[in-house]
Symmetry: C2
Subunit: 425 residues, 2 copies
């Protein structure tokens, strides 16, 4: 099986500044992979018709699919239609029924169509116009020799629905349905090299399997992701191979695997809490609210999150959580006993099933030789179970905060996954 | 004055997946702009020597600077050296002194250099090797007709220091020093169209000024950014024109402008609080800790942030903040009076200068016809000044949370900027 070759071109000078990247191509790549196209080249071109024409002409020499996004607006800056006509050496025709549709769109909002918008109804001769339900610019489908040329508007809320509604099936019909199928396995609490040492002997065998699977390891802040890509003749075959591969990884990585279905850790923890009818109170010092904010990013989290205490000062730890003066004095604010007293105090005062306490040094100031920047003590209490641990994170202030919130969520997850108690509603 | 044309090529198959974008090009673009190069094309190519050679050959026909990042590792996948030699039709030579340097680098870590790493000491004949203090792969500088070819390793921590140390001056010498200079004006609390209506008559004149300035408006969540780009013969001239332009914008946009020096709103607010020796207590419902977390993203925020209360339940609003039952019952949890009682309760219980209260409906559930999803009431109390306002935000849960935190920070900023009180230390 060979995959077809695709080229993605994004048009727009704003994506050639230091401030903007093209992200449409990520969506298009995912869609193309699933129907058997391998993206071999991505380009970003400004609003210059000769330069765009040069890139398009070059791609036409090798690409099976050429997907162009952007440059379909009504102004002189919008050069995509003209560049394609130039490369294909065909004239641009005005489609009057499209002009009428654009005119009606303006009329529905009580506006008159500016004459300039007639440009959006122009298309290279021979092109099929693709309906755009969310905007004025239609897309284009053009077949030229072995290449299918697809032109879509730049705004993602117009581009993505059009790809899914009218482009995907047309391109899939040309590729015969073989495709690339992907799965992401998310791991936390172990280092990249540790994960790779255990996983490599497993995924190393997959590349020569009947349904070959390629594996990429990405270390992102606070977690490791293993991206699996299977090449298979059809979706059923690809998904079956991925299911088996994921089980093999779970066997060697154990409970460090927290998600194989795309969910983030805050969602995994939220689902466990909801399922068990547990409630949570959080006491945070160095994370400054980030842990509670992540818990509340999940829709419906008011079902389990009762309250949070952000206690930056020692005084607030004593007043709000009842952390004893003597514990603070004896062990210091960043210590296992203080984290545990914070978790216990939050839980007792809120009357929840779960209490969490986080105290640490996010930096850049505040470190000492014994407790350097990145030292964070975390306690999680669930009914009769208490876990307390001090971590040493590396990175800047926001990285330490995030890793601490991730470690706290993971400690809670590990307790909940081993906890089959359920509260009555 | 005309700018020189640049092309940036990133090499690596991982950037052709749905998961990764090339971000090196943003750094390179910023650096190139400042020394008079306009980026006209960006490309991402996989690990295929023929495809990379095709892109490079095409860029050599028009680019004054061709910057290639990545593909300089020691394995067969690392094809950049070979592709350049192929396009320039020159052989690859091994530089033995570079082999020795790589060998020493391994030896310092107690390791023997794998033979495969000799590849990293290869360069197309005629190339100048650029020292890489942070990795094993040297960069390359090659002049070919009017084009300067720059090749740098992919990892940002190797690439960026090399560009700044050895590439920038070489490229600047070829452009004669004229450059593009940029400034970002950040605005919050007003809509994009409102900002544009007031700003367009001002920035519309700049394009034909002696030092022309181009303006782009970007609406990002919770704020509008105006990106100004001046084309000037030298930095002093460019910065002077930008200074004057920023003053003109401030005159028409007034206090909605919160930053002209790149600082984010949380940093602007933190700087104001520190300057005045004020302290803050925060009470959050729908933002779930995000507002306090943003305040504590700023290094040194423990100087002003005393504590935060995250009160999701009515019970916690009553117990922790002393919000009266009757106010909750009469006005509902999302209301101006409850926000005000939360801010007042937080401030009184923490004994701080500033109290903030946020209560709202982040969604997707919980909306009513009278108080739809996105309704958020915010109160800020600073000494004798109280501001309370109900907002209606649009977007999903995380968008509503962010916009609410942004609006709360902005209300506090506006009070502080009009407040010349200073606390004794």
């Amino acid at each position: 099986m060979t995959n077809l070759k695709a080229c993605i071109v994004a048009v727009g000078s704003e994506m050639l500044t230091p401030f903007r990247v093209d992200t449409n191509s990520l969506v298009v790549t995912e869609r193309l992979n699933a129907i058997g196209y391998d993206v071999r080249l991505k380009a970003v071109v400004g609003d210059d018709i000769a330069e765009l024409a040069g890139v398009l002409a070059s791609a036409l020499t090798w690409a099976d699919a050429l997907v162009v996004t952007g440059g379909l607006g009504p102004t002189d800056d919008d050069i995509t239609r003209g560049a394609i006509a130039q490369v294909l050496q065909t004239p641009l025709d005005v489609h009057e029924h499209v002009v009428e549709r654009i005119r009606e769109r303006f009329a529905r909002r009580g506006m008159e169509m500016p004459e300039i918008n007639r440009r959006q109804a122009m298309a290279p001769r021979g092109a099929t116009l693709l309906d755009n339900p969310n905007g004025t610019a239609p897309g284009l489908w053009i077949e030229r020799g072995p290449t299918a040329i697809v032109v879509l508007p730049g705004p993602p809320r117009e581009m993505t629905p059009m790809f899914d509604a009218v482009v995907r099936d047309r391109l899939a019909a040309r590729s015969g349905g073989a495709g690339l199928f992907r799965r992401v396995v998310k791991v936390t609490g172990r280092s990249e090299s540790d994960v790779d040492t255990h996983a490599q002997p497993v995924y190393g065998r997959w590349t020569t399997a009947p349904v070959p699977i390629a594996t990429t390891i990405l270390a992102v802040l606070g977690q490791i992701e293993l991206h699996l890509t299977a090449r298979a003749e059809n979706r059923a075959e690809g998904e079956a191979a991925l299911d088996a591969a994921v089980e093999e990884l779970k066997a060697v990585l154990g409970s460090a695997v927290y998600s194989t279905d795309g969910r983030n850790l805050d969602v995994v923890v939220g689902d466990l809490l909801r399922e068990k009818h547990f409630t949570v109170a959080v006491a945070e010092s160095c994370t400054g609210g980030l842990l509670t904010s992540r818990l509340t990013d999940v829709p419906g989290s008011s079902a389990y999150l009762e309250r949070g205490f952000i206690c930056y000062s020692n005084r607030s730890k004593i007043e709000l959580l009842g952390v004893p003066d003597v514990v603070l004095a004896e062990h210091g604010a960043v210590s296992d006993p203080v984290a545990q007293a914070m978790a216990a105090g939050a839980r007792a005062r809120a009357g929840t099933t779960v209490g969490m306490g986080v105290t640490g040094i996010a930096g850049p100031g505040g470190g000492t030789p014994g407790k350097p920047v990145g030292t964070v003590s975390i306690a999680v209490i669930v009914d009769g179970t208490t876990r307390v641990r001090t971590f040493q994170f590396v990175g800047g202030r926001e990285q330490v905060k995030f890793q601490a919130s991730q470690a706290a969520l993971n400690m809670l997850r590990l307790i909940l996954e081993n906890n089959d108690q359920r509260r009555p509603r």
